[in-house]
């Protein structure tokens, strides 16, 4: 008999975002040893069984939406090869698009290097889980791999509870829950400022641009942050603002908004009882003007972020309205209505945070390099992702564009580097 899973609120929301991005989340981890494929297969099968949404197709009947669980073979999920051109192969794999109707929502590849190392790459549909849970997925995968390799402990530890959006209220008191469920506010990004990419073109292709800030420079930045009372996130957002003004030539007196992803799990004490899912919202970080220098921009940024941090229900504002929209109308109608009130942020940032190399170690080998990044955005939308591993910071931007766009993004990264260096200089 056909097995169905509920399409949860965030699944539907990310499905709605199909006009703005390809909804894929990407991970790339480099190891200096060959990964044992049989062990990885065992772990992956167990994880897919624990999280059936990863081998399901999204069905939209216009009246309702749901996931249909499919049969699969692990060889359709895990792909192993020894490519001649490693970078090309990784890039090709990472920029693939998995349609929601596909039978599998995750693809894993192991690229063996000729020097004996290997690269583990994962692409999955954001409709199934967000960066927060993908990080958890990766850490559990590595832990289970090690436990199975060393002690033959079965890799069955992946959490498999409810994927519902309202799990976010589970640790609230009864009154707080009612308050949160009463936050009927249409949260939308109203800023028209755009990242200066070229016009859409049918020949555009997906690419992932990335820039590394080495451990020395990143350490200096962190030290400088401590000295001036700013977090890495504050400084990244401030540098993002400053670089944007410079790159796009916005008037210095103009107010600009960057939407920053926030992990709603901050409201939950324990997420081990929930399934892998999406619990991410956006906060609109806004500065009134550029300011005379980047430190003034940083001050504005901190103030704006502080306002959200002080809010008990940070990120929970639009949820009741979205839930209402999806529950009282058929799928097709609710999409149309939600589209009327929703505007996708043109400029966004997701600070995915630290990829803990000790927790991502396989058979005692910590990843030597790696990063994680969000979906490929369609122009004019952009999302800057930031992750750090082994003390190095990786900035990445996934864009569907052309060579000119790639140059623009790289120019933006140059500016980011320059501005982060200015922020770091406060220390010295």
């Amino acid at each position: 008999m056909e097995r169905k899973l509920n399409a949860e609120l965030w699944d539907k929301m990310h499905y709605l975002f199909r006009d703005f991005n390809d909804r894929m989340v990407h991970v790339e981890l480099h190891y200096d040893f060959p990964i044992d494929i049989e062990i990885l297969k065992t772990v992956l099968i167990c994880f897919l069984e624990k999280a059936p949404v990863l081998h399901s197709s999204f069905v939209d009947t216009k009246l309702r939406a749901y996931w249909r669980v499919n049969d699969y073979n692990i060889d359709d999920v895990l792909h192993v090869s020894t490519p001649d051109k490693l970078d090309e192969a990784i890039n090709e794999f990472l920029t693939q698009y998995i349609p929601p109707e596909n039978e599998l929502q995750i693809q894993v590849a192991v690229f063996n290097k000729k020097d004996g190392g290997s690269v583990l790459c994962i692409v999955e549909n954001h409709m199934c889980m967000d960066g927060g849970d993908l990080k958890y997925f990766m850490k559990t995968l590595c832990r289970s791999y090690n436990e199975y390799a060393e002690n033959r402990i079965s890799p069955i530890d992946l959490k498999s509870g409810s994927r519902a959006y309202d799990e976010v209220y589970s640790d609230f008191s009864k009154t707080e829950k009612k308050m949160a469920q009463n936050l009927y506010k249409n949260v939308c990004a109203k800023d028209d400022h755009r990242f200066p990419l070229t016009q859409d073109n049918i020949r555009d292709r997906s690419f992932i641009a990335r820039r590394k800030i080495d451990s020395e420079r990143f350490a200096t930045l962190r030290k400088s942050g401590k000295a001036i009372g700013a977090t890495v996130n504050d400084m990244l957002v401030a540098a993002y603002f400053y670089s944007l003004y410079e790159l796009a030539g916005f008037d210095k007196s103009e107010s600009v908004t960057i939407s920053c992803a926030i992990d709603l799990r901050r409201h939950m004490k324990d997420t081990s009882e929930t399934g892998i899912t999406n619990q991410t919202a956006f906060m609109q970080c806004n500065i009134p003007e550029l300011g005379e220098d980047i430190f003034k921009t940083l001050e504005y940024t901190k103030k704006s972020i502080e306002k959200f941090k002080n809010d008990k229900f940070m990120g929970l504002y639009g949820l009741p309205l979205l839930k209402l929209g999806y529950s009282i109308m058929p799928q097709a109608a609710s999409e149309q209505v939600i589209k009327l009130g929703y505007s996708n942020p043109l400029i966004a940032m997701s600070n995915i945070g630290v990829l803990e190399s000790d927790k991502l170690a396989l058979s005692g080998h910590a990843p030597v390099d790696g990063f994680m990044t969000g979906a490929v955005k369609y122009k004019p939308y952009v999302l800057l992702s930031a992750t750090s591993i082994n003390g190095e910071l990786t900035l990445s931007m996934c864009v569907r564009g052309n060579e000119e766009d790639e140059k623009i993004v790289n120019r933006f990264f140059d500016l980011m580097e320059k501005n982060l260096a200015v922020l770091s200089s406060k220390n010295s």
């Binding site: 624990k50 049969d71 073979n73 009463n182």
Partner: protein
Amino acid sequence: MKVHYDYCEHIESIMKEYPDNTVNFIFKRRVLQEMTERTKQVLDRGLKDEKVCHELIISEFNSKKVLSDYSRYINGIKEKKIIKYSPVAAVCAILVSVVIFLLIGFFADIWHPTWLIVEGTATVSIISLMWIGVYLLNSHKMLYAVSRALVAGSVMVLTQFIFLVLRIPLGIEKAYLIFLAALALMFIGDLILATMTHQRLIIINYLITVPVVFVFIYVIFGILRFYTWQQGEILIYLSLIIDVLIVVGMILHNKKYSYKPEEEDIWKEN
């Protein structure tokens, strides 16, 4: 296949609190079959380590899942019994009423209006079946529209019986007005159903039902000449006032749970 875990032992340990009767035996056999099928399915997906597979299946069929399936299974049996025996009980009740009607007719030579006994029993039987339907459909959100139709239908079935009683033995000429009242009762029934099943946006049901019911009251009492049509208009205004009170009540109730973060204009200094 080498067996690493005895699924039977696992199932028995979860079900040890429950008696060893046929009903439970069938359930346990079913779980065992499901676990065996799942094992084969997972192995076919490429898992080569049978021990891992068995442990995976054991973790999937944990006590929480098995007991929740058991609860569903027992409820399913109860529902099936209700579905099976309710129509039989209804038919029996109608047959008994026919026998009573015939006995009164043959022994006392009274054939009218004793036929209302049959009619009344049939009405009660049909309404009971409809309400059982509403009860059984309660867990199926997708079939809420069917529940609403059943509630409305039961009101109409009851109305025709009341109409017959009012018109035939009691001879009330304006008994037809009961059908107008039935329309109002259908709205009220729908509102009660929505309230009991905790439907979303129930406030809208209230806001619609109150004026509609008052309009029917206005018409019925107007036809009965309880007041002049103009005097009766007060009912319409009253319904609107009640609607406003409902809205105000809802706002006040929600206000208790409203949250306003301290919204300071941080850009004032600029």
